[in-house]
Assembly symmetry: C2
């Protein structure tokens, strides 16, 4: 099969962009990606977004953003899979380019999360869980994560603050990422003194809702001129998997099936084994998600994912660096844009442009975008060419 | 390129399904399609939906419906492009199967439109138009269509009730479609006496919001056994295009650019010219959309689309039969499911199973799914093999 490559990336800073409209935010990321890709002309636009219909009263983002970006006329659609919307949009872009029907695809993740506050946001977020059987009972996604974390700590004898290093690592890595929402390292006592959001999930166990947009330009390698300036990154593996929305429908709620299967399929397609993965961008919207993802993908056995944070294995110089640009905790969680940020950050690593955060000899990056408690998982293996 | 075919179809009746949940409605269409396709196992699910996050408090439909349909684990995502969501989901399914990465894809269009009434529905519908520049001014999609219709009638000297036959034809065709919402033919005087919704759009110039689900099973022809029982229908052409959301941003608001380009591309891919199209399933959510679509695709010159309704050309035995199973007016408008219904109806025609509504010698069906006033258009040419 032909090589599908990421030829250009663009990101806005992640944060509270109350002075920039939804379409403007998307435009900035698109312009940066198109500039980076040397002006390739896309024929299709895939938008990853979760909440614009609820929080910005705006659906139909495909046509809206295509037009605003000066691309009126191209094919355009929104792809939604809750928190995995960004990964799912990348997956659709990949399939479109791989099919040969689209030569150049633009993938943009966009979220305006902070224009609204309070119940309205909670209500929007709750649409991603099972409305009839969870949300209607008042179960928020954070409460759901708290149940998972509490059970995990109980079953595996994890001490209080045992998951602290997921946050500490992420915030340490965020310092040098100019697009990160938070660029300040935190101390262990900052974590241990943090207020509870939903016991045992404290303020640093949950990623901040944020605004942001990131964009990627995808094409087939053979369509690029031989003197194309950017180091190319190949989408060597791409896969997605689904699970129940509701936790009570699962055999084992402490095992992220979809994280395992989608990562396994993506690595198989890429022809690599776990040891060859240079870094892992997990979906650390909650610390417990990070621990469970490490276990599902196979970096740790069941119940020991948290140890990889505690012993420094996930650090930039560790065995399997994670959240290398700050992850969702420090870079921030711009909803449906998150998966696209992961890809842009992985490309930065694979190009060797991550500066202070550079992973030595980065060759294969595994990125994973989750919707809900891995109800959806989309995994990609990106490879430096 | 390999042939992508529709191997199975399923539809629920269109109507007010207050006693059936969102997921149950989807399930029924999926089960019907899977039964029709002889039990092919899908690896991916593409959901076409517009309003579940707003009207059913439920996003993340991909994983939810995959699980409920007993397909837990498969790849799943929602595709949204306003009223064209169904067509866009079919397009993504087509690309996935054409890429070779997915062997069997399930496309399901689902909408629960009638559980809510009044301002809440109007607000949800308005998310499909330009929120910052149209919806915020109080412009509803029906008011927008009224502006188009009024201007059209003025510029082209269309008499009052000149567009009546779009509704009359659709309702006549709905009688024999057991899945149609309305199965009663209407008389000219029923149309002419109908109350105004937004002058000059009367009750019969706008399609009824409805609940419904339709599903398609897509695969590559070579993967099917030689004794596969159903007559196969090939997706011979597939294309999408986008335009501005806001009407005021267009050079000519009475020309549906995207309807022209996407249909042109799809026919080019199929290797056919307009004369070879056996029937045209247009997006007749408003009568004026039908007239403008006929003109844009090339069945009539500018300003004369309405004449094709008036002179009977769009009838079942006419030059270019349209809305052959009742269209959106009589079959009903189940939002993001509409484009999938179009495909299922076209397959019924191309298999020769349309009974009283059968188009003689149907070989090529052109179906077109629009989002807003053709802000998105997705066109497919389906071909009887």
């Amino acid at each position: 099969m032909t090589d599908v490559v990421i030829a250009g990336i663009g990101q806005t800073q992640v944060g509270e962009h109350w002075d920039i409209s939804l379409r403007d935010l998307a435009l900035r990321a698109i312009q940066a990606a198109q500039h980076d890709a040397g002006g390739l002309n896309p024929q299709a636009l895939y938008v990853g977004n979760m909440f614009a219909p609820n929080l910005s009263n705006q659906a139909h983002l495909g046509a809206l953003i295509a037009d605003y970006a000066g691309l009126t006329g191209i094919e355009a659609a929104t792809v939604e899979a809750a928190g995995a919307s960004g990964g799912a949009a990348l997956r659709q872009g990949y399939l479109a380019v791989a099919s040969g029907m689209v030569d150049v695809a633009l993938v943009v993740g966009i979220e305006k999360f902070t224009d609204k506050v309070g119940p309205e946001v909670e209500e929007a977020v709750s649409t991603t869980s099972d409305s009839d059987f969870e949300a209607v009972q008042g179960m928020t996604t954070t409460a759901q994560a708290a149940l998972l974390m509490k059970r995990y700590m109980h079953e595996h004898n994890v001490p209080a603050h045992g998951l602290a290093n997921f946050a500490l690592t992420a915030h340490a890595n965020g310092v040098a990422n100019k697009n990160a929402m938070f660029r300040k390292a935190i101390k262990p006592e900052t974590y241990s003194k943090a207020e509870m959001v939903s016991d045992p999930v404290n303020l640093f166990d949950v990623a901040p809702n944020a605004d942001g947009a990131a964009a990627l330009v995808l094409t087939r390698r053979e369509l690029l001129p031989s003197n194309f300036p950017n180091q190319l990154v190949k989408i060597a593996g791409s896969a997605a998997s689904s699970d129940t929305l509701a936790l009570h429908d699962r055999k084992d709620m402490l095992y992220f099936d979809t994280a395992q299967t989608s990562a396994g399929w993506a690595m198989k397609q890429a022809g690599i084994i776990l040891d060859q993965v240079s870094f892992f961008e997990y979906h650390d919207i909650f610390s417990i998600y990070a621990a469970l993802s490490l276990e599902a993908v196979g970096f740790a056995i069941k119940g020991k994912g948290w140890k990889l944070a505690e012993d420094g294995s996930i650090g930039l110089k560790g065995r399997i660096p994670c959240a290398t640009m700050g992850g969702m905790k420090a870079r921030g969680f711009p909803g449906g844009a998150s998966g696209v940020y992961q890809a842009a950050e992985a490309v930065t690593q694979l190009r060797g442009q991550a500066e202070a955060n550079q992973i030595a000899n980065a060759k294969y990056g595994l990125i994973q975008s989750l919707g809900g408690p891995a109800s959806t998982a989309v995994s990609h293996v990106l490879m430096a060419l």
